[in-house]
């Protein structure tokens, strides 16, 4: 029993060796390559980097705004509202990759013949005007089980932006909510008639299936890398590192690493598009 307090005392007095701890928080989507980059930098550069994913993209933006972290991770652009909320903070968006939001369904829906939806159909599903897959071309009657991404997630914002032009114009709906990407994939794959929004890199085509988007001309655009790169797939989104003004010090090192060839390989490894793939 006596050991514990002395251990504690030891911890408290351990001198500060590294003054600069780099704190990063935000989107779980950006987290994957960023966390791995942090692991490399910790070993190679002896940097002290802490990464967390609380509150998703919005968590990253608001914590950067509050000055709690030096780098935010976001899978959506910083909105004017965000900027208005933190007038003193100069949000600097550093584009490190591109991802697409896929509209994903469970296997039974895919097998029943639904492989694409129009924007109109998706909107009506979101507003509960369509509640059965049969109404959008399925061979049999399956109820639609919609899992909505929870508020603050970049995925949801991108989705709402595409359907309604502005997330704030999205109507009031209440669906079961999902948070993380694995949670989404897990729940969709184990539920009949399931539909959700998910980072396309997670749509493996085995457990969950990404629907194509049917345009007005009847042409179907799938979320393939090519379609994301040439912007014909509409639900694509940039992945950002956010800093307050030009990044300096440790933040600079981190950002530079993410933009380097090795950092970009990590982006690719986790299924996202590199800047190079976008023609940048």
């Amino acid at each position: 029993m006596k050991i514990l307090p002395s251990l504690l005392a030891l911890l408290v007095v351990t001198p500060t060796l590294f003054a600069e701890t780099l704190k990063i928080n935000g989107s779980t989507t950006v987290n994957l390559p960023a966390a791995e980059a942090a692991e490399i930098l910790r070993v190679e550069q002896k940097m002290d980097i802490q990464i967390d994913t609380q509150g998703g993209s919005s968590g990253g933006i608001s914590m950067l705004g509050d000055g709690l972290i030096q780098i935010g991770m976001a899978s959506k652009p910083v909105s004017d509202d965000d900027r208005a909320k933190f007038p003193k903070v100069k949000f600097d968006e550093i584009h490190v990759g591109q991802d697409a939001v896929a509209i994903i369904v469970s296997k039974d829906v895919w097998d029943s013949g639904v492989h694409a939806l129009t924007k109109q159909q998706i909107q009506e599903i979101y507003e509960s005007k369509i509640t059965n897959w049969k109404d959008v071309g399925a061979k049999k009657s399956i109820r639609i089980a919609f899992f909505n991404k929870e508020p603050g997630r970049g995925t949801w914002e991108v989705f709402a932006h595409w359907v309604y032009g502005d997330p704030k114009k999205a109507p009031q709906v209440s669906f079961p909510e999902v948070g993380g990407n694995e949670e989404t994939r897990n729940k969709v794959s184990s539920t009949r008639g399931a539909l959700s929004q998910l980072s396309s890199s997670w749509a493996d085509g085995k457990k969950v299936f990404a629907l194509g988007i049917k345009g007005d001309d009847g042409k179907v655009v799938d979320p393939t890398n090519e379609n994301i790169a040439n912007k014909s797939y509409p639900l694509s989104r940039p992945l950002f590192l956010l800093t307050n003004g030009e990044p300096t010090g440790a933040a600079r090192t981190f950002v530079d690493f993410m933009l380097s060839d090795r950092g970009q390989e990590l982006v690719k490894k986790h299924g996202y598009m590199r800047l190079k793939d976008l023609g940048k």
């Binding site: 609380q54 509150g55 998703g56 919005s58 968590g59 608001s62 509050d66 909320k85 109820r143 089980a145 899992f147 929870e150 508020p151 603050g152 997630r153 704030k168 009031q172 209440s174 669906f175 079961p176 909510e177 999902v178 948070g179 897990n186 729940k187 184990s190 539920t191 008639g193 399931a194």
Partner: protein
């Protein structure tokens, strides 16, 4: 010196508790201002539109806890009667120790099992009622039932053992069978203690966060037309705790009304669990006397 230190530390502890209650009352003021009683009676929670009605969450919290209690109580009482009335003392202690050990299984572990096993079981078992998914109020209730089972067993066992053995012997002497002794002497004598066991278990069920969060579905504004509609148990829902554990807690800070609404939820939870715990300990106390 010893006396002064004791008092000093006690006051620090009591001060912290007072601060806790004070913080929740004070920080939630904006939402009471904004919504008034509508905060409790309102049925819609849309934070982007600054609309904060908590009734569906209160419903979710209560229903989930009641499901847990209804499922765990008979099983727990049965098990407690067996350990207290039938098992020899050594074996009884062993069983009790085992059950108490398992009361310590962390809730995140229960949550993991809930995601992996229970969701799918419930989904398949109730297939003909067409639940939209395996995330339902019932799933959360069943998971909670397992979690509070040890509490009910061990407290009920204590209550039954608290009934004096002289009374038992007298009853047997009058020619009552073992079962009759249990049912007509031990159970009625222990009823306050049994009630306390239920209330304390209910308190735990109301406040459980992580396990519920992972399986309840977190669907806002789901309030059935009839409060006791059983079908609604197979819909996803939201409890006070699953809301507090979710992403809104991070988003809300900085916005007075929204944050007030989140803290207000914690205050409601504090009042609910506080009431139940107080009733429970009050119940238990008088049975000793």
């Amino acid at each position: 010196m010893t006396r002064a230190l004791s008092w000093f530390f006690s006051f620090v502890a009591l001060g912290a508790v007072t601060l806790l209650v004070g913080v929740f009352v004070w920080q939630s003021l904006p939402v009471w201002h904004h919504e008034g009683w509508h905060y409790i009676t309102g049925t819609k929670w849309f934070f982007r539109q600054k609309e904060f009605g908590t009734l569906p969450m209160i419903y979710g919290t209560v229903i989930v806890a009641l499901i847990a209690l209804v499922l765990a109580a008979p099983l727990g009482f049965g098990a407690a009667i067996f350990t207290a009335e039938y098992l020899p003392r050594r074996v009884r202690l062993a069983v009790k120790v085992l059950i108490e050990l398992l009361a310590g299984v962390p809730s995140v572990v229960y949550g993991l099992l809930g995601i992996l096993l229970l969701r799918d079981w419930i989904y398949n078992l109730f297939e003909k009622f067409e639940p939209l998914s395996g995330d339902t109020l019932l799933t959360a209730g069943v998971l909670l039932a397992v979690m509070i089972l040890p509490t009910i067993v061990t407290l009920s066992d204590d209550a039954l053992r608290g009934v004096s053995s002289a009374q038992r012997r007298a009853a047997r002497g009058l020619g009552l069978t073992h079962a009759e002794t249990v049912l007509s002497i031990a159970l009625p004598q222990a009823k306050r203690g049994l009630g306390a066991a239920l209330l304390l278990a209910l308190g735990r069920a109301l406040g459980e966060t992580i396990a519920v969060f992972l399986v309840v579905g977190r669907q806002d504004n789901n309030l059935p037309e009839h409060v006791f509609s059983l079908r609604a148990w197979l819909d996803a829902g939201q409890t006070i705790t699953s809301k507090l554990g979710g992403s809104e807690t991070n988003i809300a800070y900085g916005d007075h009304v929204h944050w007030g609404a989140m803290v207000g939820l914690a205050l409601l939870l504090l009042i609910m669990t506080g009431t139940v715990t107080l009733l429970g300990t009050g119940f238990g106390k008088r049975s000793d006397a």
